[in-house]
């Protein structure tokens, strides 16, 4: 953020596409979603995935590895919007204050 006026693109143009990934919006979060694996349908049998579908920030990863189902939050980008918490049918997500 130390660039001077002549060290940045004209008119605020973003001249390289896809660079939103550099902007880690996780810092906006007031509450953090916590996953309770024992209650989660994805972990149990690889179904559901509603949290992953609804997350507006692509901050949930559903991983399938060696026949196991793993659920992960990407806290670099999770803004703590609570949508996953609201949508989860089994209360497998709880919110904790940051």
């Amino acid at each position: 953020m130390s660039e001077k006026f002549d060290e940045i693109p004209m008119a605020g143009n973003i001249i390289e596409p896809g660079n939103a990934i550099e902007y880690k919006t996780g810092g906006w979060r007031a509450e953090r979603p916590i996953h309770i694996a024992e209650k989660c349908l994805w972990v149990k049998n690889g179904t559901c995935g509603l949290c992953w579908i609804y997350c507006p920030d692509n901050a949930i990863r559903l991983i399938e590895k060696d026949g196991k189902y793993i659920h992960e939050f990407d806290y670099d980008y999770c803004k703590g919007c609570k949508i996953c918490y609201t949508e989860c049918p089994t209360d497998a997500i709880v919110m904790e204050s940051e």
């Binding site: 006026f5 002549d6 940045i8 693109p9 004209m10 008119a11 605020g12 143009n13 973003i14």
Partner: protein
Amino acid sequence: MTAVKKIPKDDVVIEGLTGDAAIAHALKQCDVDVLAAYPITPQTIIVEDFQKFAADGEVKTKVIPVESEHSAMSACVGASAAGARVATATASAGLALMWEILYCAASMRMPIVLTIANRALSAPINIHNDHSDSYGARDSGFIQIYTQSCQEAYDTTIMAFKIAEDHDVLLPIMVCIDGFILSHNVERVEMLPDDAVADFLGIREPVQPLDPNNPITMGPLALTDYYFEFKEQQDRAIKNVPDIFKRVEAEFEKMTGRSYGMFETHKTEDADIIILTHSTAGGTAKVVADTLREQGEKVGVVRLRMFRPFPSEEIAEVVKNAKAVAVFEKCLSFGGAGNPLAMELRTALYHLAERPMVTDFVIGLGGRDVPPTTFVEGYEKTKEYLKKGEAPSYETLGVRK
């Protein structure tokens, strides 16, 4: 681009054209890629004539008849972002409706040519000339040039593209004519051959156009961390305008023998009182000055052309030895410390150890006629104020009070 050369007399087409038609013909020759506009009096003929050129296949321009001026300027920004040469036209309420996007056009650095037939703002509804519309947009970041004749409107429209599209500028530009007084008044206009205009302007070379193969984002968000730096860029860009303007005019002069300057001076060298005004009132002022000179009065005229950027130093240099400058302007800045033109001048003179007195006369609002006698009245008042050693900050002339 080929070197500019003098156009032989026989290649020049002479026609009787209104100010609007002169601008439409200039736009036609400038090979505009996109023209998006909404009709409004007294600008309507510009777009009407241009639509006719398009319908008759005389131009390849994509004409977009939008549903409002807000959309007109938005479409212009989009087209300009894609690298097109873009023009539009408006007046009064239409300009007011463009407001939000005027700022976008300037800060996104889109070299759009916006021709304006200056008209009063409502209410009450009035279709006639004053400068409240474009004066109001003076801080939008547009370059503003005011013209006095149909020939000058034609010439300035052509030069406007070259100034705006210069890579050291990249700013939108307003070319202003007085509504009805010039927009609907037929004058002799010398028109250049098409290929001379094409050679003079060349093809626009966009710096950072929208391109699916090299995707970029324009006009995104910049908050406390970067916004100010982008304004610094914009401020520096508009400061480049006088140099580029002079270079473009010099080239145009080589081709046509005509150039106008950022302002015109008329008998100012030894003048005690200098009249400052612009647009068609400038013509009246010069006639008045000539007549008063015959009666032994030492009076001259500065007819301003470029209001943005305001040529402060250059004007100060011309008027600094006069006893007074009498400003005649067609706009009221309600409740302001002064009216727009006088305010600029007073600021331009402030640094001088000895300043001429500045008198300010608001004239011609809503198209009220400005006969020579109005100038004489202001001139006589200025002489009186000089004798008294003080003047009111401004007064209205030509109104029943």
